[in-house]
């Protein structure tokens, strides 16, 4: 897929300058940079949530996203959150939940789950959609180091089962090292690509 942004402004104030890069199938790219630089804005543009920009996104295919917050429907069970959003059957959703250790939680409402459990539901919901491109916006925020590592292992496992393009927004270089094959560093005002480098994992 190709990201080709010529510019993006909020109320006449440019936030993103020219940003262009390609992401191959099964490639995992980490978008890094100081907070407030426009990483999330860029991800929202790629997700199609913000159409008010100059440029184009091509070849992303079927999308799924893991948001900064789990963003589950609180009035639907964990299982129904997956069934309804990803359009899969209940047994498929149950199998996915079981694969991340939530077999006995499928019928619970999100308010009955811990934050870590809700994040796991959000991740399997994204995979249930069988996306060609998976977008993640700081998916490990406010988790302690141990839970973060657990989540990264889980994600690596899921990614290895199905070749999926991953674009991960993070301010934490450890997330980038753990998951990405390439790092794209944004900086400046308006933000542009300052540095691209392969990540050794």
């Amino acid at each position: 897929m190709r990201v080709d942004i010529r510019g993006k402004a909020f109320d006449g104030q440019p936030v993103l300058g020219p940003i262009a890069f390609e992401v191959g199938v099964a490639e995992a790219v980490a978008l890094t940079g100081p907070s407030g630089i426009g990483k999330s804005t860029l991800l929202r543009i790629i997700a199609g949530l913000d159409r008010d920009f100059d440029g184009e996104i091509t070849g992303a295919g079927r999308l799924a996203m893991v948001f900064q917050e789990p963003t589950l429907m609180p009035w639907r069970s964990a299982r129904d959150n997956i069934v309804l959003a990803a359009d899969v059957s209940a047994p498929e959703a149950d199998a996915l939940l079981a694969s991340v250790g939530l077999a006995d939680k499928a019928g619970l409402f999100p308010t009955q789950l811990s934050l870590g459990q809700r994040r796991r539901v959000a991740i399997v919901r994204a995979f249930a959609r069988r996306p060609e491109t998976l977008l993640m916006d700081e998916p490990f925020t406010s988790l302690d180091a141990e839970s973060s590592r657990g989540m990264q292992d889980l994600l690596r496992g899921l990614l290895s089962e199905r070749p999926t393009r991953l674009i991960l927004v993070t301010h934490d270089p450890r997330d980038a090292e753990a998951l990405a094959t390439r790092r794209i560093h944004l900086d400046g005002a308006p933000a542009r690509v300052m540095d691209q480098s392969a990540v050794k994992n």
Partner: protein, 268 residues
């Protein structure tokens, strides 16, 4: 393990469950106290024409029920309440949701809404009867018009606070409009809808009585008008208390259980 993020608010079960067994007992004792107080007042006053005892009113209810008059008039009023309620909820919800979601509409509509909220019920009733005629349509329209601005105000608040993150999620996951409405929008609006419905029913039946009082030939309001002319307090109380009982039954048996059902995800 430590979780640093805040967990969502979980209101206590009792706050959304007003008809638990203990509450039932307290409500019963409270109503019993009212009847005792009424009885004592009636006996002390010693003027059955001005304040009959509960027994006399009960007797009047029984005899009106026996010849079928009571149910005929109760039903006539109930039908008007239901018609006005459905119209007001549908039209008011539509207006409120559009205003809550479209800022431009809200800016233009808000002064009109404030005006409508402050229009006295009596004015709309009189104008509807003059403009439309002394008909059923005029009666129901007048009541609905009184209620629509209130429903719109409550629903607008609900639509304003719709969760943007969930809408974004639905967009990325390409949830079809029907699914979005049913699983994302309606659950968020349901508490507002229930609040509008509950305050609505209480307001509507009081206005329906006025409408009947002024220009209908059946219903509880008409009966009150009739017995008012004879200064028959016993009959006035018999009809109004019967209808209060009907409305309380609707509240306890339909509205509250439905509200609890809609809010069950909060009870975890």
């Amino acid at each position: 393990m430590t979780w640093s993020a805040k967990r969502p608010r979980c209101p206590r079960a009792s706050s959304t469950n007003p008809v638990s067994e203990g509450n039932f007992r307290i409500a019963g004792a409270s109503l019993f106290g009212l009847i005792v107080f009424w009885w004592a007042a009636a006996v002390i006053a010693g003027r059955p024409d001005l304040l009959p005892t509960p027994l006399e009113v009960g007797g009047a209810i029984a005899s009106e029920a026996a010849d079928g008059d009571l149910f005929f008039h109760l039903f006539a009023t109930l039908a008007r309440v239901l018609a006005a309620f459905l119209i007001a909820m549908a039209v008011g919800s539509f207006i409120g949701i559009v205003m809550g979601m479209r800022r431009r509409v809200d800016r233009w509509g808000d002064p009109l809404l404030v005006t409508a909220l402050n229009l006295p019920a009596l004015v709309t009733i009189v104008l509807c009867y003059i403009w439309i005629g002394l008909t059923e349509v005029a009666a129901v329209t007048a009541v609905a018009i009184n209620k629509i601005p209130l429903v719109a105000t409550v629903m607008r608040e609900g639509a304003r606070t719709l969760d943007r993150d969930l809408s974004d999620m639905a967009s990325v996951f390409e949830m079809p409009p029907g699914k979005r409405l049913r699983h994302i929008i309606i659950p968020q609006l349901a508490p507002h809808f229930a609040a509008a419905a509950r305050t609505g029913v209480a307001l509507i039946w009081k206005i329906v009585l006025v409408v009947e009082f002024l220009g209908r030939s059946n219903g509880v309001g008409f009966q009150i008008h009739l017995h008012f002319q004879n200064f028959d307090v016993t009959q006035v109380l018999a009809y109004s208390l019967s209808f209060v009982a009907v409305m309380i039954a609707i509240e306890l048996m339909i509205l509250q259980p439905w509200q609890r059902h809609a809010a069950r995800w909060r009870l975890s």
